[in-house]
Point group: C2
Chain length 357, copies 2
């Protein structure tokens, strides 16, 4: 049963775990992934080229220390990496859901996480952590279930998208939905898929993940071939080549319908839309928050984090807030940045100590 | 003969003029338009709905005062509003040029302007003015012909695009060129055109023309229909509706190939790529510059203007530089902003006084 009232089932969930669940099941940390993430957050399955998307953050001796914590990461509801999503077969029709998949919310993402936590017999988490859309899930989780975790880490996230954020999402969706191969979302088994639209969406989004300064440093106006411009429309500047590669390699691992659903989930997210209800719950909360933003992030700039901090503090929820210096824009949350790593490590260490784990 | 060595001809130029050329032909101001502009800069041809794109700036008693100056504005080479461009018929084939149109540069745009100036029998301009790509033309003009105008006004412009600027252009071009109706640019007379690609390009570009703050004020998270979100993929937020309207209305007045050429002209522009040659000319210049930027412009932020100022000052070219406060982002250069208007008016008034016109 989804927040919208629609029902969906059965739901399969793909997940990975790292570390060992202790005897009293008190050392679990839930990792919530972002728009295009998956359950493979850490480790490399024996293939160093297949390192998890947050392998810098999660592992033995790392900030989310698997010598101490048992870490769970699942592919989100509506995803395309093992969890039931628009590309899954609808048992009612025997075909892919496509746009027949119900629209869901961040609250629904959390409901599925909670079912998995219960499946492990865990009644209370040591913590949950996520960046961007991942942070939204952590925030929503505590708002709705104020006593289910000791520590909540919300990185480079937002309690609600700005008009500019929604605008970028809207253009990405237009690119996908206007692609003639989109076929109203019913493209599975047709041998065609809205690859052009998804490539454009990814290329554009990628610009918003980097800062202007980091693009200048990484690419500047350098040319792909030699010193002299070609004066042509094909790829000439290095930044063009990079974006094209990002757009095209994305096709191999992502489904266009999932992109539509996940971006729409973010558009509609508004954690404090009902401040009275949120406040009534948060006042009862025994969760401690760590909020982190990056100074060059212009997708969810520091003001987005500050707004969350202000809300939480107004209900006397304990919050540590840090704006980290980093030139890498929104992408910083996925990168190894010493001050960032130290901040998360110290916060979780204190949590572990308090919990006696 | 273009900068690339390619030849092109004959070239037709669509232009408009406002005000009266004086007896000694000393009162002419050339207006250079930006990416999607045209020759219709001012007035309204008797139809108030058809006001020129810079009607706030140009007219009797306005900053570019047509009671005093004779104003010329032409559609750029490669344009789609009357001047020869990729949609024109190639005399060699009897069909539209499409991508057979040679790539040209800002220098080539200026060559065409100069031919039109000569056609009027004008040997020296009172000034030239332009915003964004328009400012690039003004800058290039003075670098190459340092004694052809008394005053140069460069607004919200750049001497060279940043990696992020090029990245946005690259994605826009991808959207157009990957549209199946693009047909390698040879879509004229096929009854199809890359409308989807051009719409996406325009929607995305439009986000970069506005500031985050102005989008927040104009749209926020307001919904298009009523109070309750629809939880669907069609237009729900006002900002989505606005962008879609921008994208679709653009199709009526613009050609996709022209969009490709104009964005590529901007990518390759690098006014001070050869600083020695530029400096040797600029040291001889008798042109006085006014540089203007807007504090909320993130497409060409103030640093782009400052870089031009530093170059000009290093060769002792007289420059007045003003960063104007405005919440409207890059689009500010097209809007009526009192401090902006006063600054341009004062600069041109001084020019007129010095020239005795």
């Amino acid at each position: 049963m989804l927040e919208s009232g629609a029902t969906l089932g059965p739901v399969e969930v793909a997940y990975e775990t790292y570390g060992t669940l202790n005897a009293d099941k008190s050392n679990a940390i839930y990792v919530c992934h972002a728009l295009t993430g998956d359950a493979h957050a850490a480790g490399h399955h024996g293939d160093p080229a297949r390192r998890g998307w947050w392998d810098t953050m999660i592992g033995p001796g790392k900030p989310v220390d698997t010598d101490r914590f048992f870490v769970i990461c699942s592919n989100l509801l509506g995803g395309c990496q093992g969890t039931t999503g628009p590309g899954s077969v609808d048992p009612a029709t025997g075909r892919g859901y496509g746009l027949g998949f119900p629209l869901y919310t961040v609250r629904d993402l959390v409901s599925v996480h909670r079912a998995l936590v219960a499946h492990f017999g865990i009644t209370r988490l040591a913590g949950a952590i996520g960046g961007s859309l991942g942070g939204m899930q952590v925030l929503q989780w505590v708002i709705d279930q104020p006593n289910e975790m000791a520590a909540a880490v919300v990185v480079a996230s937002s309690s609600r998208l700005s008009a500019q954020n929604i605008a970028f999402s809207a253009v990405a969706r237009e690119a996908i939905m206007r692609d003639p191969d989109f076929q109203n979302g019913d493209y599975y088994d047709t041998g065609r898929a809205p690859d052009t639209g998804l490539t454009i969406a990814r290329m554009m989004a990628h610009i918003t993940y980097l800062s202007e300064a980091s693009m200048r440093e990484k690419f500047g106006r350098r040319l792909q071939h030699g010193e002299e411009p070609r004066f042509a429309f094909d790829v000439d500047f290095q930044v063009e080549s990079y974006l094209q590669h990002q757009g095209e390699s994305f096709l191999k691992r992502f489904d266009a319908n999932t992109y539509l659903y996940m971006t729409r989930v973010m558009d509609y997210f508004d954690a404090f839309a009902d401040p009275v209800a949120a406040g009534a719950n948060l006042e009862k909360s025994d969760t401690r928050f760590l909020l982190i933003s990056f100074d060059s992030d212009w997708r969810f700039d520091t003001e987005h984090s500050r707004e969350i901090v202000r809300h939480l503090q107004s209900w006397r929820v304990p919050v540590t807030f840090r704006e980290i210096e980093s030139p890498w824009g929104h992408d910083s949350f996925l990168l190894e940045i010493p001050e960032y790593d130290r901040t998360v490590a110290a916060f979780l260490e204190r949590t572990a100590t308090d919990l006696g784990i």
